[in-house]
């Protein structure tokens, strides 16, 4: 096997609560992601998936273990990764175009060039005509398209997505899933996609990782056998249903209500 794009080894993280009690959040997580692979992480709410993604992005430092991108250790946020956030978190004072430009601006891309490039991404996510709208003038789905364009604009080697469709309604979510697949088909990227929806994970990913509840450990890894490009129909195929059942069984063991 060639060198993996992203290599996660022995990641452990705990948070200090109250007077110094340490609550473990992440325990000994290790796996590797190949170049241009789409990996989904599924786990119960609050299991530490988001913390994990933030460590990969370099926003949080792990207590032990490390993240390697192209064989080099990640020590802080950088341009190799682009993050899409659950609550979109667009800058309310920037227009759609301005938000997409943000990462390029931080990279020091000259104004005209970044404008042109951002415009291209706006078109790709289907927001032509809304470049100059402010986030509060856009619907939730449109806001998240801007969020995706913002992350893609910096041409990251790895795209990190933190439950990106979690706060959208079901219809919008389905539409955006298809759009994400279409974009991914055209602009292939290595993707790490965190979600709590089993169907979403199967539908989108090449491989699904299942995390246990807090502290999160890697419980199970499953390959998704469907060919690409994928369409809605596979969701009703017996193989899909079986895969979903298998993941659910695994998750259920850890879920307590």
């Amino acid at each position: 096997m060639a060198q993996p794009k992203l290599e996660i080894s022995q990641l452990t993280k705990g948070f200090v609560r109250g007077r110094g009690d340490i609550v473990p959040v992440l325990e000994n997580v290790s796996f590797a992601v190949a170049d241009l692979e789409f990996v989904a992480i599924v786990g119960p709410s609050g299991c530490g998936k988001s913390t994990f993604l933030r460590i990969v992005d370099g926003l949080i430092e792990p207590d032990s273990g490390e993240v390697r991108l192209n064989g080099r250790a990640v020590t802080g946020p950088g341009h190799g990764r682009g993050m899409v956030f659950q609550s979109f978190d667009l800058f309310p004072w920037r227009t759609a175009l301005g938000n997409v430009e943000f990462g390029l601006e931080m990279m020091g891309v000259p104004r005209q060039e970044r404008r042109d490039r951002a415009q291209g991404w706006i078109e790709l996510v289907g927001l032509t005509g809304f470049e100059h709208s402010y986030p509060h003038q856009l619907s939730g789905g449109m806001q998240q398209r801007v969020g995706i364009a913002r992350a893609l604009a910096i041409e990251p080697e790895v795209l990190l997505m933190d439950e990106p469709f979690g706060s959208l309604d079901v219809q919008t979510r389905d539409l955006l899933q298809d759009e994400l697949l279409a974009i991914w088909q055209r602009k292939r990227k290595t993707v790490l996609f965190v979600t709590h929806s089993i169907e979403e994970a199967i539908y989108l990913a090449d491989r699904v990782l299942i995390f246990t509840p807090r502290p999160a450990r890697l419980e199970l890894v499953l390959d998704v056998p469907f060919a690409r490009p994928r369409t809605e129909e596979i969701k009703s195929s017996p193989a899909f249903v079986e895969l979903r059942r298998e993941i659910w069984q695994s998750l259920k063991r850890g879920v307590r209500i």
């Binding site: 978190d89 800058f91 004072w93 920037r94 402010y134």
Partner: protein, 253 residues
Amino acid sequence: MTRLGHGLPLMAASMVGGMILWEMAASGVSGVIFAPPSVVLARLAQDTLSGVLPMALLGSLAHLAVGFLLAVAVALPLGFAIGRSPPVAAMVEPVMNAIYAVPPVAMVPFLIIWFGLFYEARVALVFLMSVFEILVTVTVGARNVDPMLLQVGRSFGANRFRLVTVVMLPASLPFVFTALRVGLVRAINAMITAELFLAAVNLGALMKQSAQRFDMAGLLSLVVLLCLLGLAAQEGLKALESRLLPWHVRPSS
């Protein structure tokens, strides 16, 4: 904008109603003690046309502007420092709250000692009264910057300096505008206090003269002028804000 658009007739009605109440309250009271709005407004118009009020107002505004701008220049960076750094906040806030508790009139003797009676002292009082007001609001604004936005900034590789200029500053702009508005109100208040309690000049001198002559219409016309000035300052800043920050949606009822 909608608030103004829909509310304009109502506001006008409210103003007229207030005037009628005032007129009623003033009827039958000696002119040496109180004056009705009809007389006061006529007086205001007369003194404005004669140029007396505009000249005094300009003089007052000159040192208002200097003191206020100084306060802004000091309070904005300091407010950000306090808002973003808990140790700085813990060090400065007790002292700040303590000084804030003292009524400005009680500070006058000290201002005279330190800054004399003229221009510098007036500027100092305007500065002192508005700087804390601005500081408090900017501190809150800086403290309340959505942590998620800061995280987005960091995620996209913004360094500390960039985080401040590109994320924190714009994120707290609405608070900065509020701070300016609150500060300006206090500054106007301080301006007239300074002109009355230090060496009397400009509007303060006119006020004192009217008072000395028991010219209540003159006195009240100055009070009305100050009220209008305060109203204009607030509405002006609001209009400026909605022009400059089109993205900021004020919570609406």
